[in-house]
């Protein structure tokens, strides 16, 4: 039986068939094109490799949730092009001179592309004490990396859009005081269903106050579903991006399944936010290849367009890569994911002594909890 996560079940060896179409190979191209947009082969192959790694960790994660190595899975297979193109363009670092990331739970690709090792993903999925994001407390993909300004991801839909103006406010002030550090922006990501929450509107409003506009890149990944609910049944047919119009905010809708278009859409929006210190609403149309989460089975949906398969074919057709190299990259990515899981499963779990840890920061003005939470006040 073919592996349900990898290639369509009706194709015995999809890779060979795709490769066969483009033989004999054309001369190596200098750029990969999509409409008027181009990517250098070097960047395109970097994007492709990171997309493969992202797909590999997501598919391995789904297996973990089904094998008992983990419980709940949620993630972003189908959003690799968006995640990778965004991750490669982040101004990574700590503090207001760099970008702040208010993500949601389908953004593994951003983190891997920024340099997070796969094991930092699987440790959270396997609920280990070594999980650097949450000590085994939170769902997978709920990253938190202070050194890279990655704000803790929370399961509550859209609240990150209410927080984004705060980090951007500090960034804008910081840039005004330190003109050489005036490029940091706040990147906030959510799905299209979440835009029904008032917090989305809060972000539009708070970032466009006259004279006090804030450098927030508002990103909506539109996969057309909120768990099981079709967007067309709960939202006007006007694009989500049109919600920027009454606020006078710049906006665009792009094809998030096309890495070349996605790269440039993000680049345009980011450059605007960085230079103008103003917000931009970018809607990216993406696929949801494994449903909402493990709660809906996480089975592969073959009716959805696959950005990774399409990009692979595009690169092969263009002669930027051959099937053997693709296979090697895939094997490498899968092996990397397997190594991360094997190592993760050897690591310790949290214990009963860890329940209270990290509730409170040390305080010199608290007589009950000067160090951390220790149970009810005065408890014996």
């Amino acid at each position: 039986m073919p592996d349900a996560n990898e290639d369509p079940p009706d194709i015995e060896d999809a890779l060979l068939r795709r490769g066969a179409r483009s033989t004999p190979y054309p001369a190596a191209p200098s750029a990969i094109r999509s409409g008027r947009d181009t990517l250098s082969v070097e960047v395109a192959l970097t994007v492709f490799r990171q997309m493969l790694r992202t797909r590999a960790i997501e598919e391995r994660s789904i297996k973990m949730s089904k094998s008992g190595e983990a419980y709940f899975w949620i993630g972003g297979p189908g959003e690799e092009a968006f995640n990778v193109c965004l991750g490669l363009q982040i101004n990574k670092g700590h503090g207001p001179a760099h970008d702040y990331l208010h993500l949601h739970y389908r953004n593994a690709g951003i983190m891997l592309t920024m340099g997070m090792p796969m094991i930092d993903h699987t440790r959270q999925l396997a609920m280990r004490w070594t999980d650097r994001h949450s000590r085994g407390r939170n769902f997978v993909g709920h990253y938190s990396i202070p050194e890279w300004n990655v704000i803790p991801v929370t399961s509550v839909i859209e609240v990150q859009f209410a927080m984004a103006p705060g980090t951007a406010l500090v960034q804008k002030r910081h840039g005004q005081k330190n003109p050489t550090e005036n490029e940091g922006i706040t990147v906030v990501v959510g799905g299209e269903a979440g835009t029904a929450e008032g917090d989305f509107e809060s972000c539009l409003n708070w970032t466009t106050r006259p004279g006090q506009e804030l450098p927030v890149l508002m990103l909506v990944t539109n996969n057309r579903y909120g768990i099981s609910t079709d967007l067309d049944t709960v939202h006007t047919h006007r694009p989500i991006a049109d919600r920027a119009i009454p606020y006078g905010m710049r906006y665009e809708t792009i094809d998030g399944n096309d890495p070349v278009a996605t790269w440039h859409g993000i680049d345009r929006a980011m450059r605007y936010c960085r230079r103008e210190r103003k917000p931009f609403l970018l809607e990216t149309m993406v696929s949801r290849l494994h449903g909402h989460s493990s709660s809906s089975g996480a089975q592969r949906n073959w009716n959805e367009a696959d950005s990774l398969a399409a990009f692979e074919q595009k690169l092969i057709d263009a002669g930027a890569i051959d099937t053997n190299a693709v296979r090697a990259l895939k094997d490498e990515a899968k092996a990397e994911a397997d190594r991360a899981v094997v190592e993760t499963m050897k690591e310790p779990e949290p214990t009963r002594e860890d329940v209270y840890a990290f509730t409170y920061a040390e305080s010199a003005v608290d007589t009950i909890y000067p160090k951390d939470f220790t149970g009810l006040p005065g408890a014996r």
């Binding site: 503090g95 938190s144 704000i151 609240v159 980090t167 406010l169 708070w206 006040p377």
Partner: protein
């Protein structure tokens, strides 16, 4: 001699000047109004927000993430219910991130009844707030404590909710905040914005000094032997008054504990007093079903059952949907002086 609103204002000024407060913000918090209770007049970092409580708490969290020290206001706690999940998140960020992020955030909001505020300017919030792990929750009953608890809230690197009893915001303290001029009129001329034209007005801040009331420290405001009264906020002065009356008229004296911190609460002081008197009354104005006072009652029963002489009891607000506008509604749903005096008398005189 400052009133509580002036004390909060002076604490925020001290916070801006000495403790790194970067933003004081909320609805009508900045100029020209400076807060619907005047608690933020003349502050250097005060600014007005959209009428959006979720945006206020979310933005405060964002500022805190990026290294700022925000103090924000929900104009009335009655309008904090749509931010309960933002409060939950602010309270769990440190725990959820395994210590990755601190959340140095202060939220202040007027609490309780007593200003003829009708349904939606009379809610009490402390019982809701007590169900927000990760937060610290304080409520002063006088201006000096308001100053001291606000400074503690600002200094504490965790989220702190400062509940300000609406009915006491205009109440003057008999004591002086360190650095405050002795003449209340002089203080008013220095820091109260003119009623009409405020263009170009600048406050003339007194040279204030630090005075921190540590979180988790209650104050024993009356000492006695016939019973223990645990209260905070608006009913606290009434409890002290009732205790004074019973002491003067009937020689019955009480320990009156001003809890000051809802969480963490000063269990040590409560426990010592219960051991001494064996009689306990808990008084607050929040609605009585699943009231924070019931938690204190549970601990008293759990840990002092055999130390009690008579049944421990509570006096709380009635479980009604709101405080009605007509005073007959309020006085019959929120503990009044007479109710407290009667409850104290019953507590002291019930046969053991």
């Amino acid at each position: 001699m400052a009133n509580m609103a002036q004390a909060v204002r002076m604490a925020l000024h001290f916070g801006e000047k000495h403790l790194g407060v970067t933003d004081v913000f909320g609805e009508d918090v900045g100029p020209p109004l400076g807060g619907v209770f005047t608690a933020t007049q003349g502050l250097r970092t005060a600014w007005n927000t959209p009428l959006d409580e979720r945006g206020i708490i979310g933005t405060a969290m964002g500022i805190a993430y990026a290294g700022g020290r925000p103090v924000c206001e929900i104009q009335f706690c009655d309008y904090a219910f749509n931010v309960l999940d933002m409060f939950k998140i602010a309270g769990n960020q440190r725990w959820a991130s395994g210590g990755g992020y601190d959340m140095p955030l202060v939220v202040m909001t007027p609490n309780g009844a007593g200003i003829r505020g009708s349904l939606y300017h009379s809610h009490s919030f402390e019982s809701w707030a007590s169900r927000l792990p990760g937060w610290k929750v304080v409520m002063p009953s006088n201006a000096l404590d308001a100053y001291g608890l606000m400074l503690a809230a600002i200094k504490d690197p965790n989220p702190v909710l400062v509940l300000l009893p609406k009915a006491l915001l205009r109440a003057k303290d008999t004591r002086l905040i360190p650095g405050e001029p002795a003449d209340a009129d002089e203080l008013s001329r220095m820091i109260d914005a003119p009623v009409n034209d405020r263009v170009g007005w600048e406050p003339n801040w007194p040279n204030l000094e630090d005075h921190t009331v540590k979180i988790g420290s209650a104050e024993l405001v009356r000492e006695g032997t016939f019973g223990t009264v645990i209260s905070y906020g608006r009913p606290l002065p009434l409890c002290a008054q009732a205790a004074d009356e019973l002491a003067a008229q009937h020689y019955r004296t009480f320990d009156v504990i001003d809890l000051r911190s809802i969480f963490p609460y000063d269990w040590g002081m409560i426990s010592r007093s219960v051991l001494k008197t064996g009689r306990v009354l808990i008084v607050n104005e929040d609605t009585e079903v699943t009231n924070f006072g019931e938690h204190l009652l549970r601990r008293v029963v759990d840990e002092h059952f055999y130390d009690l002489s008579v049944r421990p009891r509570t006096l709380m607000g009635k479980h009604v949907p709101g405080i009605g506008m007509n005073q007959n509604y309020e006085v019959n749903s929120v503990p009044q002086l007479g109710d407290i005096r009667t409850a104290l008398w019953d507590l002291a005189t019930e046969a053991a």
